[in-house]
């Protein structure tokens, strides 16, 4: 009796095509150093130590009076907020008529290991706010914090409410004990004193390890399978490479800042309990009394919604809005959803208060 094979020849065809795509990749794909992540034109208006204050050039004739300063996260770099024109957070805000500044924390070296929360909150962030106030002749500005940048911005809004007109917290790291992510589990078991004493700054390699344990099979296999499947799709490849380049570029975090962040946020959870101190000053979340707009992503596997949402309930602001989006940590700031829903909603809220 002749056995009948049920094997679909299309599988073989797809495998051959996939193999061909891998072979063709070097011809079709640019090298990482050929990709520039500087998308929207800007000027560097202030430099302090390794930090830079960027001022994006206006794209509209008229702008709202109140400028906006973005305090980006400590992990990876600010480029994700301007990753490509069609998905650029910054460009979208400029097109809506906002005057946008970005604080680039730079790349700390061994000699920066003693930089702490105080330097970031009362030093770099405060100097940027003061510079913008002087430059634009305004008494108060809007501040947006993203991820760990929002932890810094939250401390700032509590200590300097007189300078903040509106505060936007995007996926803020606030309540470490409620954080259900893998990152928080690793942070809770870390001997951070030993790490800072022996290594100094938090090395980027440690962050790359943390990235690798986040959905390791989706991110480590499926993502690259999709990349090779779409190797002929120029737009897909360009976007993929930009995000990959951004992912592979995370600076070290200054030792003292990292120590306080891990201890005060993840291990002892002092911020949400109003027990945290920065440079000897008490961080009381009730002192955040300006309009607050909190943005949370339901599928965030880096900062879980349970970690971010408590900010909304802890502040003293009467005018406050909490928005939840069906996306992830990066999807909230650099995707079609962010362009079509997240940013228009933020823009509408901010325009009414600028």
């Amino acid at each position: 009796m002749k056995s009948e094979s049920k094997f679909d020849p299309k599988i073989m065809e797809e495998l051959i095509k996939f193999g061909k795509n891998i072979m063709d990749a070097p011809k079709l794909v640019s090298a990482p150093d050929e990709i520039s992540l500087e998308v929207t034109p800007h000027d560097i208006v202030q430099k302090i130590d390794k930090t830079r204050l960027l001022h994006y050039r206006s794209l509209t004739e008229k702008q709202y009076k109140t400028p906006l300063l973005i305090s980006y996260a400590l992990i990876n770099r600010y480029h994700i907020l301007d990753i490509q024109p069609e998905k650029s957070w910054v460009r979208n805000l400029l097109l809506q008529g906002f005057d946008v500044y970005m604080l680039d924390w730079g790349t700390p070296t061994s000699m920066d290991k003693y930089l702490d929360f105080d330097d970031y909150v009362n030093g770099y962030l405060d100097s940027s706010v003061e510079f913008i106030k002087d430059e634009t002749s305004t008494e108060k500005i809007s501040v947006q914090g993203y991820c760990t940048g929002a932890t810094i911005a939250t401390a700032y809004a509590s200590l300097h409410p007189e300078s903040v007109k509106n505060y936007i917290a995007t996926a803020p790291v606030i309540d470490g004990w409620r954080d259900t992510t893998v990152i928080s589990n690793l942070a809770k078991h870390m001997d951070v004193d030993k790490m800072v004493e022996i290594i100094g700054n938090m090395p980027p390699e440690f962050m790359y390890y943390c990235f690798s344990v986040l959905k390791p099979f989706e991110q480590g296999i499926e993502k690259y399978v999709n990349f090779f499947k779409n190797i002929e799709n120029k737009k897909f490849v360009d976007n993929f490479l930009r995000v990959e380049k951004w992912l592979g570029d995370t600076p070290p975090i200054p030792g003292e800042l990292f120590r306080q962040w891990i201890k005060d946020i993840y291990q002892d959870n002092l911020l949400i309990q109003n027990k945290m101190y920065v440079g000897g000053s008490h961080i009381d979340l009730k002192k955040i009394d300006m309009p607050l707009f909190t943005q949370v992503a339901v599928g965030d596997h880096l900062v879980s919604p349970e970690c971010s949402m408590p900010l909304h309930y802890a502040v003293g602001s009467e005018d406050k809005t909490l928005k939840m989006y069906p996306t992830g940590h990066v999807g909230m700031i650099a995707s079609s959803l962010s362009q079509n829903k997240v940013l228009p909603e933020l823009g509408k809220w901010l325009a009414e208060r600028s």
Partner: protein, 170 residues
């Protein structure tokens, strides 16, 4: 007095060399001890990973027992495999046992680094170069000075602004 004959025999830098060798060999012995503990933790780390792999694969086999025959089935099989593996590994990385072992593993790795730093310090000092601790002291001092300068600059700016406001009123 008793050290005098000994000092006579150890001529110049060779005396330092002898004491440095002792320091380095002590560090090497400690590195060896640490390595044994490190190996235990690293074995546990890989054991947790491989046990999770086996469990996840069992679940995949139960959910998708047939070999996929066409592209559609292949795609669904891949989806099931990725979802089960991602869920099981996330559960592992989120667990107390993983967090605890990983924390100890990193801590042991740091201790190994510390011994290596100590050896480097001995070598640096033998070459008349500053040790890591000495450089750290300088960094700390620079940091403190920068803070003081910034505070003074802010105070100066405030005073200037007050003076300017006074002049405008006049």
């Amino acid at each position: 007095m008793a050290s005098k004959p000994q000092a006579l025999t150890s001529i110049g830098p060779m005396r330092a060399f002898a004491s440095n060798s002792k320091k380095i060999s002590t560090e090497l012995i400690q590195i060896n001890e640490n390595l044994m503990e490190f190996n235990k933790l690293v074995t546990e780390y890989y054991k947790q990973l491989s046990e999770t792999w086996s469990e996840a694969q069992k679940k995949v086999n139960l959910k998708a027992p047939d070999v996929p025959h066409d592209t559609e089935q292949m795609e669904s099989f891949k989806r099931i495999w990725i979802d089960i593996f991602d869920n099981d590994y996330t559960e592992l990385f989120d667990s107390e046992k993983f967090g605890e072992n990983y924390g100890k593993l990193v801590s042991k790795e740091l201790e190994l680094t510390k011994h290596w730093n100590n050896i480097s310090n001995v070598i640096l000092q033998s070459a008349n170069l500053p040790s890591k601790e000495e450089i750290d002291e300088v960094y700390k001092e620079i940091h403190a000075l920068k803070k003081r300068v910034t505070k003074l600059e802010i105070e100066l700016k405030k005073k200037r602004d007050t003076k300017n406001e006074g002049n405008i009123k006049k």
